[in-house]
């Protein structure tokens, strides 16, 4: 029983991070209609930029975090300006976006691997403090991760549902042509979408890299977790990716209980395929008619 509660707590913390990744991915996927695989490389760029600012340049932590978030947002915007906006202009299909996105992913990841090598890099080398509640152990970093991830999620959710930007984003997601006719500046809107999505990705990267070491190749696994969390939660509601993230985190934690942690990616995709079979619209999703997709 104690073990189960411990695993659940670990799963919820991990889930909050997945939710953050998924929400960033979902904002881009819904708003700009780009299946942004390069999101995984932006995550790695975030982790490595924290490592370079904090461990290599010895800047204060707050400044390192600030510069990291700035850099990550910038990379996201550059992806849009240099590649996606041009593809969108010629009304390319989803497959073309995915190929372009894969190419960006490969370029960023391999450039990072060229500079920093393929080894795992660790930001904080000391072991973090942990608190014991009876027999359940929670580390200080886990509390920080959960706190900041949830705060960011709440802020973003308020931003998406209560502001004018959120409304225009919804309009763009529903019908790009009509929102153009309504006088929305789609160019600017898309840039903001990529900025916010990448910002969330950067926060996730920072929260994870203060806990565990990062190597360039862990980005794809994180990206897929985010994408799968978005799909199993439901793409067409903003609460979907958050719910999906927590669900995925808890399932993975419980799977670790039964089988080894090395099977994590396999568990993620097994879950994805089960959902595709039985509930392709996700937990919160609405079933769309053919012509609405």
């Amino acid at each position: 029983m104690i073990l189960l509660i411990q695993l659940l707590i670990n799963g919820i913390v991990e889930g909050a991070l997945y939710a953050l990744m998924a929400q960033g991915f979902a904002i881009i996927y819904r708003g700009a209609r780009v299946f942004h695989i390069a999101h995984g490389s932006i995550y790695i760029a975030g982790a490595y930029s924290l490592f370079s600012f904090y461990n290599l340049l010895h800047l204060p932590l707050i400044m390192s975090i600030f510069f990291t978030l700035l850099l990550v947002t910038l990379i996201g915007i550059l992806c849009e300006i240099l590649v996606y906006s041009r593809l969108a202009k010629r009304q390319a299909s989803g497959s073309v976006f995915i190929i372009a996105s894969l190419a960006i992913y490969i370029i960023i990841i391999n450039s990072i691997a060229l500079f920093f090598g393929n080894e795992t890099q660790i930001v904080f080398k000391e072991i973090s403090k942990s608190y014991a509640l009876g027999e359940i152990i929670v580390t200080k970093i886990q509390i920080l991760q959960f706190l900041f991830a949830s705060l960011s999620l709440v802020f973003v959710l308020i931003f998406l549902t209560r502001t004018r930007f959120g409304m225009s984003l919804k309009a763009l997601a529903n019908n790009p042509l009509l929102s153009l006719a309504l006088g929305l500046d789609i160019k600017v809107l898309r840039i903001i979408i990529f900025a916010i999505g990448s910002l969330l990705c950067g926060i996730t990267a920072i929260l994870i890299s203060i806990d565990v070491g990062i190597d360039p190749w862990s980005g794809m696994s994180m990206l897929l977790s985010g994408a799968v969390a978005m799909i199993i939660g439901g793409v067409n509601k903003w609460e979907g990716p958050i719910l999906g993230g927590f669900f995925l985190g808890i399932v993975q934690a419980l799977a670790v209980w039964q089988i080894s942690a090395r099977w994590q990616d396999v568990v993620t995709f097994a879950l994805f395929i089960i959902f595709l079979f039985f509930r392709p619209q996700g937990i919160l999703g609405l079933k769309l008619r053919m012509e609405e997709v």
Partner: protein
């Protein structure tokens, strides 16, 4: 000389892989990023059977059957998906198969890989030299080229082509488009398994890192850059993309940087082609 022959062997290998992926991408119009998974499954089945002293040709047949069966089980649910979800599902299968190869240590020996795979022997003579292996790869590559040509010009190939152009219209002609797509997928994966078996016998050592997502993307890049939807495109693509990174060797880039630089070059070429020439060098099918 052996270096040159090695490059030619790699070109033959990637011609086989690219032509098989062409069935799915160029003819079916479906982007699959799981081809290295079937390639790897073929290589592993072949290696494991050959090491049990099963003759190589029978091992190769079992490798093809095994990979085709996996492909059927994957294709059946995923081919119903549309666009992005289908691509994500193929990436998922790629990741799962890598996870299995890497973690199922009792069978696949995980990260340690399988060593000591014997080279192919013909009429009692083992093909140990590189020229002899080149001959073997060449024969298989030419065989696959003829086979692909026959399939492209068969009624099956024509239905596949018409699905790519307009699936609904093909259905209206009373063709079972779902079934045709599944069989194209199975066929492509079976041929990828042949490439896997040949590769295992040639390098005599395999480990999961040869069959990663990067490899899948590389095979897809060959098809897209060369041009999909016909016979010439993937062949030109394989020659172009296998030879190109060898230039790095001649300008004296240290071999520790070479793998990363190679990936970056592939990705840049892919982006340039997506923008400037979406149909590839010689393709007739254009991704839009």
């Amino acid at each position: 000389m052996n270096y040159l022959l090695h490059i030619l062997i790699m070109i033959c290998l990637y011609i086989i892989l690219a032509l098989s992926l062409n069935f799915i991408v160029g003819y079916g119009g479906l982007l699959s990023i799981a081809h290295a998974a079937f390639y790897g499954i073929g290589a592993y089945i072949y290696a494991l059977l050959v090491l049990q002293n099963v003759p190589w040709l029978i091992s190769l047949i079992f490798a093809v059957l095994g990979a085709s069966l996996c492909a059927y089980l994957i294709a059946y649910p995923t081919l119903k998906l549309k666009g992005d979800y289908f691509i994500l599902a193929t990436i998922g299968f790629q990741i799962i198969s890598f996870g299995i190869l890497y973690n199922l240590i009792p069978i696949t020996r995980g990260p340690y890989g399988i060593a000591g795979i014997p080279r192919v022997s013909l009429f009692g003579i083992q093909l140990t030299s590189i020229p002899a292996n080149f001959l073997l790869f060449g024969i298989f590559a030419i065989g696959i080229i003829f086979f692909s040509w026959a399939v492209y010009n068969s009624p099956f190939g024509r239905i596949l082509k018409s699905i790519r152009e307009n699936e609904i219209a093909t259905q209206a002609f009373g063709k079972n488009t779902g079934g045709v797509k599944i069989w194209a997928f199975v066929l492509a994966s079976g041929i990828a398994a042949i490439a896997g078996g040949l590769y295992a016998s040639y390098v005599t050592y395999i480990d999961p890192t040869s069959f990663t997502l990067d490899e899948s993307i590389f095979i897809l890049a060959i098809v897209l850059v060369g041009g999909s939807g016909n016979l010439k495109g993937p062949i030109i693509g394989a020659i172009f993309l296998v030879v190109l990174p060898e230039i790095l060797r001649f300008i004296g880039i240290s071999s520790s940087y070479a793998p990363n630089l190679r990936q970056i070059i592939y990705a840049l070429i892919l982006i340039i082609f997506v923008f400037r020439r979406p149909q590839g060098i010689l393709g007739e099918y254009k991704l839009e």
